[in-house]
Symmetry: none
DNA sequence: TATGAATGAGTATTCATTCAT
DNA sequence: TATGAATGAATACTCATTCAT
């Protein structure tokens, strides 16, 4: 019986260590920005030798990809949990849009991480092709509740997707301003701006 | 006599050389992305030794900052010229908003450059404090025509600034999506999205 | 009862496993060259963890040494079998010389292995002192049939050894040229060269 | 006038430094064998930072290639000078063959270097394709005096090349034995062996 | 007997920057 | 104003080996 448990335990601690490394990576990301987050610095933060990380991840990029994937899953959970509690489609639409913004507003380290996808040249780089597609899909899934609610409210597929894109764009723009504190230039409150935008969309579609 | 002319000439060519280096830097930016643009590669592209650049710029960051500054000036010129041609305040508002988006949409290398300001940790880093403020001001100046037109149309100062921030945010968000080709996920046309947003703002303020 | 059998079995499988590891090592040698053959790659090819190999061999060098030893035994068997079939001493001399060359010519991976002994600085390195002497003896044993046949034909001990050395040297030189394809430079056929050399020796000693 | 000299001097010292690095590399080769001769170790031996070597050579392989090329040129000079002094074609043949052997026999570090060409898998590796061809040609040039003398003595082209290959092979084989001290196994004197071989060739061709 | 995790030393190469000339 | 040479710190990644389990 102990033998039956042992392997499970080992797996558990292995996963735990992986998680600890990812957490360390996230901290480095947060504190030093993307440039400072080398494999070395992540290893140091995690209390490991650089070489040790290769037992848990096959390359530096894999760490980034897993970190990002984990972040997107947390975002998805955050949104799903909140949307589920809402009763009407209108409320769900509002909640889906707001919580996307809210998650990143409250977790700036995840924002840095998320924006990693939006760096580099025309094509996102530093993450392999298939990995990139997977991440794209995960991002799409986070925003899907927006389209779902919209469709319940009578929107067609194209409008649903349009609303996903709009809300993503507006959120991201505001977060970028807020995150870099440049929003002060305009003496605006990011949360208020986002609320206004969502309300505007609802009014525009005559959903209230 | 030649010696009397020399200093003037030198000053003239000095500015020219500086410009040539910046142009080279922009080309490198364009071709290799921000990450690939080392001081070395800029020097090579400009036909110089890395060490030579230090006669024109005090650090790699200064090159980036000046490049960005130059880009913001070009943006400002682009917007001003187009806004000036419009007769009514309503048209000027529309033009100011559209041409901000349009400039970056057509010049993706300037977008990469502009987003450089929005990287790093919470605080914009890699650019010194006073330089950062100067760049902030230059960005503000580019968007100012939006507020000016809005105020002509009856908006108060706060609303003017709010519109600057909104349009900046929405443009940036769309450009980010378009620039990284992730907009395909949502099957949307970035230009159409931006046009719709501007129209929405005008309708919302009852300016049409 | 099963426990009583176990030790015997284990011993048997232990030798088998050792052999399997050596075979894997040889394959790696063959495919990736000597430089590419790390302990890791050998372990992977053998279906083991690197650490597991340390139960069978005390170091990476020991694997090389045993592999080499095994190769020299195969060479010895190859030569002995063929020499035994020859009836006259003259034929045996010819066969001993030719089959030494022939074995390596047909088994280039064994040649790489054999040349491993002839690398490093002035002193053969990477193989311990006593191991080196053992390998020397094994090499000597492979060439011994040459001297034996020569002595039967009337050569004294010194001439016998001289012929061993000559034939070893000439074979090795030709194989080196052939193995690295540099023999093309001289537009020669390695097998013909070796045959000529052996014939020359026989003529020189007036053994035909 | 001093200005006219300056650039020359600089070039000279630059070449000198290059040479000093190559000398250091040769020493490392000699002392630590090929495996020990990393860029780091060469730099250390030369009294430089690893990075500094990149001002003089574009890669580690270039250092190896230049070292090898330099060694082959020295070999060629050694042979040419000695052959030139001989009056009859017969003497030139003998000298060309002997001095090839003699050079490597007296300069074991050059032998290690030369054997570098004969390592790796079937195809020589670690040196680029065109570099490899150049080195091949240089090796051929070193041996060319053998064929030239042979042709003067009436050999056709094929026989000339055959003699080059034979002498190369025999020399190399003996050197390998001597270099690794395995020649002791056979209680032979390498120089005598080589002399005997050359004499044999001359007798065989009836050139004496 | 075997593994997974870890280390420490090592690999070549790149970087921004400095400095004597 | 410009260069060539140099540095020191950094980059990701590999290696043989060890050890607790």
């Amino acid at each position: 019986m102990p033998q039956a448990i042992e392997p499970k335990r080992k797996k558990a601690t292995s996963a735990e260590k992986k998680r600890m490394i990812l957490d360390a990576a996230k901290r480095v990301f947060e504190e030093e920005g993307l440039e400072g987050s080398s494999l070395r610095s992540i290893a140091a933060e995690a209390g490991y030798t650089p070489a040790a990380l290769y037992f848990h991840f096959s390359s530096r990029e894999e760490i980034y990809a897993e970190l990002l994937s984990q972040s997107l899953h947390q975002l998805k959970d955050y949104i799903d949990q909140r949307v589920r509690k809402r009763e009407t489609a209108g409320e769900r639409f509002e909640e889906a849009a707001w919580s996307f913004f809210d998650f990143y507003n409250k977790n700036p380290e995840d924002l840095s991480l998320g924006l990693y996808l939006f760096r580099g040249g025309i094509e996102p780089q530093g993450v392999g092709r298939e990995r990139n597609q997977k991440l794209n899909q995960e991002l799409y899934d986070c925003l899907a509740p927006i389209a779902e609610a919209a469709e319940e409210l009578g929107a067609d597929k194209h409008l649903g997707q349009n609303l996903m894109a709009r809300i993503f764009a507006h959120s991201t723009g505001i977060l970028l301003l807020a995150h870099t504190k440049r929003i002060r230039l305009f003496e605006q409150d990011p949360e208020q701006m986002m609320r206004d935008y969502i309300e505007e969309q609802i009014k525009e579609q005559n959903w209230n």
